[in-house]
Amino acid sequence: MNFKIENNYLNITNYPSMEKHFEKMANKGWLISKIIMGSVFIYKKIEPEELDFSISPYEVETSYSRKTKEELEEFQTVCESVGWNYATKSYDLHIYFKEKGMDAVPIQTDEEEEFKTLELLAKKQLKAQYFQIPLFILLAWMNIGRSFGSVYGMRDGLTQIVSFLISVGIILAIINVVDLRGFLKRNRKNIDLGKNIEFSDSKYYRFKICFILFHIVIISFIIYLLYSAIILKNTILLMALIPSLIGITIGTLYRIYVKPSKKSISYKKKVLAITLVTATVISIWIGILNIGVLANRESKLNIDGYRVLSINDFIDTDVEEDFRELRENVSILISKSYDYSSYSRGGVVDTEYSQALNESIAKNLVNRYKGEGENRIIGRNSRELEFMFENGIYDSYLGRTGLTEEDFNNLKNKDTKEAVNEALEITKHKSIVEDKDNLWNLDEAYFLNLDKSEIVIRKGKEVFFLGGEDFSNPEIIEIVKDRLELN
């Protein structure tokens, strides 16, 4: 192999120890040739040589400015004029080498000035982290929260991958902030006292492990996207990525054309603000357009090979379905899943199919469906129950929740909050019930509402959620079991 890849870590806090590392690698016949994301080091094969390395901070980019290619070439040319050969760069750290013992002016000749540049770079990194951490926390709240307890989190691969990505991102960001702040604090004191800059010679295992995980998750993310797009034909997922792509494109155009220009900072600030607003507006517009496109989608779906229910399975004469929708997914825990909705003027029938990796995961999924069934009962009934208890009225609505007049009378003298909670418990207890009569004759079956029009059933590691018919009716059960191959 003419190249070698290494997981390592280079930042402003540890570059002198990396200079030594590159020297050792050159001694073994490997010259550093590229660094990706400060953590993936790519070496090219050379004859083993004794080389000196110099890593020099030179700020390349800020929020409003960026060195042009010509400026970087000029810096490189001058370094070469004094005896240093360019190897590569990692963000704002430029890596040069020369033959050991060869006389050359050091690239950095003043520690105070070097520290000023490092301070600028550290502040830039810290600003980015201070911006990222709250965003990560928001995303964590939105993604990880729903992964832990919900059906969606268990069945959706993207949510699971993004949850890992965010977790690793938060850990990396926090370690980086602590590391940089410590470095700045220590060295501001050193420079004030005329001492040398104190760099870290830590092996940075925490960073290395986090970066390995980060790269694994990124690769999984790409594989998931390709699999969803090509194999599962999940256009919704691809459309959801369009706003991100637009944001990246607009940001890249700003970096290429605005940052390196000679315009004033105030002009660039205005352009940056306009860029951000434009990217946001376009993203929202695309998002709305997506919803519109999806809402109007009436595709010619071929459901052969999918174990799903159609509205036509339950009526004598075939009707044209007004709208059909099939969505496939794959996740770490649920190897295969799809949702199908069949609509017509006669009603709607929903099927959610999941094939879990093992039975224990399938049981967990059933419990999640039950949990979500409970949540739906709370969501649908809380306000009405509160109103009824506050006003002391029992009406037909309460009858539909499963709460009898006797139950109501027993609770009405209690504190409203307590009465509502107890009423909800009664409703849940009456609605979410096991198929005790073994009508379905499967491993598990739970009705999820009072009129038994929602059910979750499990056979081995397969789980179905069904909605839209009376699933306690033996005739319906027979049709469903036949259609879903559950006999």
Binding site: S56, C79, E113, E114
Partner: protein, 109 residues
């Protein structure tokens, strides 16, 4: 609060830009002027040139063949003159003490 003194490379870079010069010329000029005593490396030089340009101590006058040429501005000249004045006073104080005039301190009453 007193102004912070210029560092050695800051001082020599500003001094060398009394004439139009590009990066490599600045390094050579400083080495020549100090007879090799002071060397400014490219990392130090280009970081300072960026900062000086942002602070308007220097102006870029041309950008030919990937070589930016700079010259000191009036603000830069003022900063440099203040530094020269400060250094002169330091030198004067040192000469005074070394000239054996310290006794005056003991006899100041």
């Amino acid at each position: 609060m007193a102004k912070k003194a210029l560092t050695q490379p800051m001082y020599y870079i500003l001094l060398s830009l009394k004439e139009k010069r590009h990066g490599y010329e600045i390094m050579q000029f400083i080495e020549w002027l100090t007879e090799g005593r002071v060397k400014v490396g490219p990392g130090t030089l280009y970081s300072l040139l960026s900062r000086f340009e942002d602070d308007r101590y220097i102006d870029m006058v041309s950008d030919d063949d990937n070589k930016k040429t700079y010259i000191i501005t009036d603000i830069g000249k003022e900063i440099l003159d203040e530094e020269i004045e400060r250094l002169s006073q330091l030198l004067e104080d040192a000469r005074y003490v070394k000239g054996g005039n310290e006794d005056e301190f003991q006899n100041r009453k």
